[in-house]
Symmetry: C2
Subunit: 565 residues, 2 copies
């Protein structure tokens, strides 16, 4: 494609309304243009990326046995009433009426539509399983559309739906889709992890969110760079082993710590790190006082504590609780406090050392409290909130805590929609059951954002080869010298030869300065840049430069096609 | 694809609400399912056809130099107010409001959106011409959605828009698009003609409608099967030449024809054909009486008469006119009537013969009225409405008159949208002008309907190879005999081999009767059917049958792939 003909105007300056890198760069590189709040047009360069992502998704869905179809965007609101999601979505859903006042919505997703269609076609266990998908525009009337494609109101999504006789069969397809998703995001060049997530409006049981690591993401999550471990911060656990050895320390020593009920003040007063203190958190355990122990530089993860004591219920003490339990000296509780029904501790507390901790008396702490000598633990459980560098529970490598962009999600839906919309099947014995469903979404336009967030530098986008609008960006720099015509002719030849070889080339044949051409090439971010200039042509070479790494070399003019094929 | 896994249930019976063949067959063959009035889901088999049409369109647009992009479906109504089309579309347009009461419409087309975007990017004559297109869902809130995809409310359309410095440059692109459209419809296997049309809501000057010949079409048009002549019935003209010879006939004879003011009654009374009579139609020509002459078996085309006398105005006489002109004997007017300002005749009237015609006196006609002897003609003009069999004005072959489905349209838009939405360019002298635009639509989902209307028989669809969901429909007919396993194995082998060779095979591996399988193969309509049965396997052959022609032959099992590759 000749740039002189391409519908593209790059922007020199950052658009005022672009808050994140991907939004800024996609606008500057002429990939998208805003038509309304959260609603974008895809210009030719962006369209090519979008189509490539869609095609990767399509190939992996087909390979996973899903069948492509298309569901209407304008859907009867009646279907959404049957499932109860009309109310659940509320103002997030665009609604409209036709000329006969029949109510419609613009599909934010399509469980209702596909379930009602499958209910009309299939009725026997012999028909199942079924796995269908579509790639189509979806709509959410976001309260605050922002970040370009990240929180858009019109966005391209792949949504798949599977139908099964039972949960076991669903699990097989769920796994296949999970694997297909992994391949999709790998092919798109994303650093991502599948995080076991909680259900949103869709409802259902097991689900995984595929998070692309990105500072601008909406959710924190914990992940391991060495293996595929990943989890929401609430669910994440550090790898930890309990040590059984009792520390050999001097006898416990009582300290006067007036008006120091906090970890930091005590540590400062004693000149020790907060990690040398033992934090004793009082909580109510079904009506009885209990204590949770973690090192002083750690936070208790409330979800982890709740899971540790389940099916009993944990509730952290408030001032009323402390008032009702004067035997627990708020701010000065020790691990050996009297009258405590349960002492639960994180394995980090098993480290054989003497702890600074509360003396169970106001204005007093102790030094060298030793586990197994001065206090006991009734239950060991992972309690601490994971912090970066904690060991991975799976492989032991240091964990990372990052924000992520949700680029995909897989759900075990169960029978909610099948029941609401009467998608029933008859089993071998002739009995009717609701079909068991799964649903699987990928944000196609969201992937474009996530990819640019990960693949860019100060000068522009650095497209992964699989998504690059063009494989090669060819610059013609004829200059003003005597060789200008020769350079132009050489560039034209390279362009024709590469095009004939089936290579997608963006050819900067414009009458523009080298500075403009280099800047645009960096901004647009094709993987390989070829520069045809006067000095090179005189030597029979073109300069090749890899956009992402900045590496460069020279290619003889007559081997360019062979080298790039 | 194994039919045992394909999301498809064919229907034995015709759906009650399907009024036309394509609607009936697309439903029966499981290509589409209705979700709401005029709104359809595309099931996997239909999806494959839709995607193939879209891909053909895409390839031809790309080849014509148009650049693909995507414009939003949800468009700010404000843009449509600027062009005045908000009011022009009226209730035909779906409208909605977002949560902040901003008004949107669902795009029925996208002149406003693309013009506003181009206005933001381009500003110089150097930027032009530009030709961009999108393939996306469009919306019309039809008063009476019907005929399945033919008058749907949600439909897939390719819409292209071109921008130029002047009308001359527009004409070049217009011609390129016209040619690309011709290739698209040819590749889709449609019998079609480009008809010069009149502008609808879009406005503009020159335009052509591409009509696919179909009995269920919405518009009559005249076309030639031997050349590419085609025209609306109002504009169509027969090829005709005037004869200059005066007929050698007996002298004019006066006849008593009481109470016979009509052509048919006179012809019956005299025992002659209506074509032997001369029809004399009185009309008002800017206040003066005039007569139009055509043979008695022909109708005057009012548009043709109007064009013949332009810039004067013709208005056919009504009873008041006849009352004001008693010299014109209504029903008995002859070509030599007194006081007539103009006698205009179709060239058919120049045939050298004696005519039966009015005697200019009530209850009387004459026989053997001869042109040049008994009456004169002041002006010759094509006046008759074309009927099937008339000679083509271009090549002389017999013309056809048929109904057509409009599958595409190309428009010279002019500057209407560029002016309304400020898409201006600066010329070399620094003066600003509105860009000159063209727009070009193809109904992708409409093509599917038109193709099925043309390509079907009593048993089902007969897909053209380029659009067939699968190239080959392979039937396994194991039967109940001893060779059942052998047949199954042979069919599996053929399926695997064809698939490995990259041939799209629909494989009927279901546990169903031969009757069901044959009926489904006919209904679904893949171009080639391969049947693997016990007798054939015993002889080492499979039966091949072409769906459209019914021809069949046998292929040795070991050459199936080679024969079909």
């Amino acid at each position: 494609m000749r740039m002189s003909r391409l519908f593209l105007r790059t922007l020199r300056d950052d658009p005022a309304d672009a808050e994140i890198d991907s939004h800024r760069l996609l606008l500057r590189a002429g990939c998208i243009r805003r038509l309304s709040s959260g609603i974008y047009a895809w210009l030719p360069v962006g369209q090519r990326v979008l189509a490539k992502v869609a095609q990767i998704v399509r190939e992996e869905m087909d390979a996973a046995g899903a069948q492509e179809m298309t569901l209407p965007i304008a859907q009867p609101l009646e279907l959404w009433r049957e499932s109860g999601r009309d109310a659940a979505y509320g103002p997030l859903m665009f609604r409209l009426q036709d000329r006969k006042d029949t109510e419609f919505c613009l599909s934010p997703t399509a469980e209702e539509a596909i379930t009602s269609i499958v209910a009309g076609e299939y009725s026997s266990y012999r028909d199942l399983p079924l796995n269908v998908y579509q790639i189509n525009w979806k709509y959410r009337d976001e309260l605050r559309p922002r970040f370009g494609l990240l929180r858009a109101r019109e966005f391209l999504m792949k949504d798949a739906y599977s139908f099964h006789v039972d949960a076991e069969d669903l699990k097989r397809t769920y796994r296949d889709m999970y694997d297909a998703y992994t391949r999709v995001f790998e092919r798109c060049g994303l650093t991502f992890r599948a995080v076991e997530g909680e259900a949103g409006e869709i409802g259902g049981d097991v689900n995984h969110e595929f998070m692309a690591v990105a500072a601008v993401g909406e959710d924190d999550f914990v992940w391991c760079k060495s293996c595929d471990y990943a989890a929401n911060v609430e669910v994440a656990r550090r790898g930890s082993q309990r040590v059984e050895r009792v520390a050999d320390r001097p006898a416990r020593e009582r300290l006067h710590t007036p008006d120091m009920p906090g970890i930091v003040a005590v540590a400062e007063h004693l000149g020790v790190g907060t990690g040398e203190l033992l934090k004793c958190i009082a909580f109510d355990l079904d009506g009885q006082p209990a204590i949770a122990l973690v090192p002083g530089d750690r936070e208790v993860n409330p979800v982890a504590l709740a899971q540790a004591v389940a099916p009993r219920t944990a509730r952290l003490y408030d001032d009323d609780d402390f008032a009702a339990h004067p035997e627990l000296a708020k701010g000065y509780i020790g691990p050996d406090a009297a009258g405590v029904a349960l002492v639960v501790a994180d394995p980090l507390v098993s480290e054989p050392r003497g702890w600074v901790t509360g003396a169970n008396e106001v204005d007093h702490h102790v030094r060298d409290a030793v586990l197994g000598r001065d206090f006991e633990v009734h239950q060991w459980a992972d309690l601490v909130a994971v912090v970066p560098g904690d060991p991975c529970p799976r492989c032991g490598s240091p964990l990372s805590v990052d924000r992520g962009i949700e680029v995909g999600q897989v759900f075990e839906l169960g029978t909610k929609y099948a029941e609401a919309l009467h998608a029933l099947y008859t089993d071998e014995a002739g009995d009717q059951h609701p079909m068991v469903m799964g649903c699987y979404g990928i944000g196609i336009s969201r992937i474009v954002t996530a990819v640019v967030e990960e693949h860019h530098d100060d000068d522009g986008i650095t497209w992964p080869a699989a998504l690059a609008p063009y494989a090669v960006h060819l610059l013609s720099l004829p200059g003003k010298g005597a060789a200008a015509d020769e350079v132009r002719a050489a560039a034209e030849r390279v362009y024709e030869e590469l095009s004939d070889a089936g290579i997608d080339v963006l050819y900067d044949d414009r009458d523009a300065s080298p500075g403009v051409k280099f800047a645009d090439a960096d901004l647009l971010g094709m993987p390989v840049r070829l520069t045809v200039g006067a000095k090179g042509v005189a030597r029979g070479i073109v300069e090749r430069r890899w956009r992402a790494s900045g590496e460069q070399d020279e290619l003889a003019l007559d081997v360019v096609v062979a080298a790039l094929s």
